[in-house]
């Protein structure tokens, strides 16, 4: 008991700070990734052959674009796009510096997950709404996105968990976070307790996010 108390006394500040940093990184980059990823996913679904805004060129272009980015491991991407990061946020270090690579990494992933979710929507319903003389943008919003909501939520859950994993590497550019904590203290300084505690917190975090996502999706899904 006393050892746990003394562990908390020694480490709660550091761990608390790391949790906060992880939340910051995940929260901000998730927000931007969603803002980019969902429209991008929608775009590749709508420009697909046979869809309402069929456009071979745009479809192929974005398809390739997403595949290229998704081919690069995050740790490489982090350094690969340093100049771009500098251009966008003016710095390449700290939480601010890691947001850009995290978004570049996650947005295409979300776009792919969106694509799958949207393609699951019964094309018959879209057809029924077209037959009723309803505008395409209304159909996109009220049929496609609405019906895909449960799958979108599950996709975003997966993306969020992937994002948490990616933030572990953010320590490389001095952004901190739980992964960085486990690496620096746990691995480099042989503070095994800190590593265990961090991993434990990450497990709890991932578990809660997944259960929350599942529950929310199940609530929206009615079949």
């Amino acid at each position: 008991m006393t050892s746990i108390q003394s562990f908390f006394a020694d480490w709660s500040d550091v761990i608390g700070k790391s949790i906060l940093e992880t939340f910051q990184m995940v929260g901000i980059s998730l927000l931007f990734s969603i803002l980019i990823g969902i429209p991008l996913g929608l775009l590749i679904v709508l420009t697909r052959p046979g869809q309402s805004f069929e456009n071979k060129f745009l479809y192929q272009f974005f398809n390739l674009f997403i595949n290229i980015i998704r081919s690069v491991p995050f740790i490489i991407l982090l350094f690969f796009i340093l100049p771009f990061t500098k251009l966008i946020v003016g710095t390449t270090i700290g939480v601010k510096g890691v947001i850009v690579p995290l978004v570049v990494y996650t947005a295409p992933y979300i776009a792919r997950l969106m694509e799958t979710a949207l393609l699951e929507v019964d094309p018959g319903v879209v057809e029924a709404y077209t037959a009723m003389g309803i505008k395409r943008r209304h159909i996109i919003w009220n049929v496609l996105l609405r019906e895909a909501r449960p799958s979108i939520i599950l996709g975003l859950t997966i993306a969020t968990i992937g994002l948490i994993g990616a933030t572990a590497m953010a320590g490389m550019v001095g952004a901190g976070g739980l992964g960085d904590l486990a690496y620096r203290y746990g691995h480099l300084r042989y503070e095994v307790d800190v590593m265990y505690a961090t991993v434990f917190i990450l497990i709890i975090l991932v578990q809660s996010i997944q259960s929350l996502g599942n529950r929310f999706a199940a609530k929206l899904k009615k079949d």
Partner: protein, 341 residues
């Protein structure tokens, strides 16, 4: 109301160009229920989807209320589509929305105000008999109830035309009858013109005024339902009729029966259904009729009776007997081709 002029629709496939619809002319009159029947692959679905341009015909024109809608702008086409309701084989409802929302969402998107939306949902949910189910989700409903929701959704736009794309094909016979009953009610009480496609002859029998028989993308027979059931012309039409009543005997059976007489099919229509002609004939002429099969088909606008009879007697007397039938408004067909002693 709906006039299709020389519609063709080609699809490009890996194996070349396929003509799904090949030069179809079709006229659906205001207020009628027009059935298009054909086997799968005959082009029915493509045809009905050409009516509201879900499928753009390769050539030909589609007139709705005398306006050629193939030349309309997207905006005007949308306005026309609002006058044409459509129901589908697989219902095509929003899975994530309640019955109420399934009916109300399209109305809201079409710009009706809240009170109007509420009024219409209540009205049409009642017409289709789903007032109790407004808060249910489609997954909690049976197939027939889902189709009722789809019908309410289509009716709530207050269309002049309803297109039915195999609306009863996924339903069991009893539910099919209930849905057909509903379509008939809609047609009678709301005066909505209905164009439906089906592969089931009983759909045609129960509710259609006019029928087009489709084969390989072309109309091979067009007539009123009564004509079609009493005097089918095309072999495909006859095949469809056989699905609801046994009209044909096997050639071997006919041959066997021909040893001692002729096999005749008598088709009674309208007034002639009421007369005891068969009894009269056996009194007047020296023939002994033996009924092999008999049935009566109730159509929307009349009754058609069929009797297949074995007439025992000399050929020249049988011939006189048949003349008597014809004079009394019964159409006859000699099975096996000729009369026998």
């Amino acid at each position: 109301m709906i006039q299709l002029e020389n519609i063709t629709k080609e699809f490009k496939t890996k194996n070349g160009i396929v003509k799904a619809v090949d030069g179809i002319n079709l006229h659906v009159k205001k207020g009628e229920i027009h059935g298009v029947i054909g086997y799968s692959g005959a082009g029915k679905s493509t045809l009905i989807r050409c009516v509201n341009l879900l499928e753009r015909p390769t050539t030909g024109k589609v007139f709705i209320d005398h306006v050629d809608i193939t030349s309309l702008s997207l905006n005007d086409l949308r306005k026309t589509r609002q006058k044409i309701g459509m129901i589908f084989q697989h219902f095509n409802l929003l899975k994530t929305a309640t019955v109420y929302n399934n009916i109300s969402i399209p109305l809201k998107l079409l710009g009706y105000n809240d009170s109007e939306v509420k009024k219409r949902v209540a009205k049409y949910a009642e017409i289709v008999g789903l007032t109790e189910k407004l808060d249910s989700y489609p997954s909690q409903l049976s197939g027939g109830q889902k189709q009722r929701v789809a019908i309410a959704r289509a009716l709530a736009q207050e269309p002049e035309i309803l297109l039915s794309d195999e609306a009863t094909s996924a339903l069991d016979p009893e539910t099919t009858d209930a849905i057909l009953e509903l379509l008939l009610k809609i047609n009678r009480e709301l005066g909505i013109t209905i164009l439906l496609i089906t592969h089931e002859m009983n759909v045609i029998q129960k509710i259609c005024d006019a029928v087009s028989v489709l084969e390989s993308g072309a109309v091979v027979e067009y007539s009123s339902a009564i004509e079609l059931f009493s005097k089918p012309q095309h072999p495909t039409t006859r095949k469809f009729l056989n699905t609801i009543s046994q009209r044909n005997l096997s050639p071997s059976l006919i041959k066997q029966l021909n040893v001692s007489g002729s096999v005749i099919r008598l088709t009674f229509l309208g007034e002639s259904t009421g007369k005891p002609l068969l009894a009269e004939v056996s009194k007047v002429y020296d023939v002994q009729p033996n009924i092999l099969s008999a049935n009566i088909i109730e159509l929307k606008n009349g009754i058609v009776g069929n009797i297949v009879v074995h007439l025992h007697g000399e050929a020249h007397i049988v011939e006189k007997a048949l003349k008597y039938f014809t004079e009394n408004g019964v159409s006859i067909e000699v099975l096996g081709g000729e009369l026998h002693d």
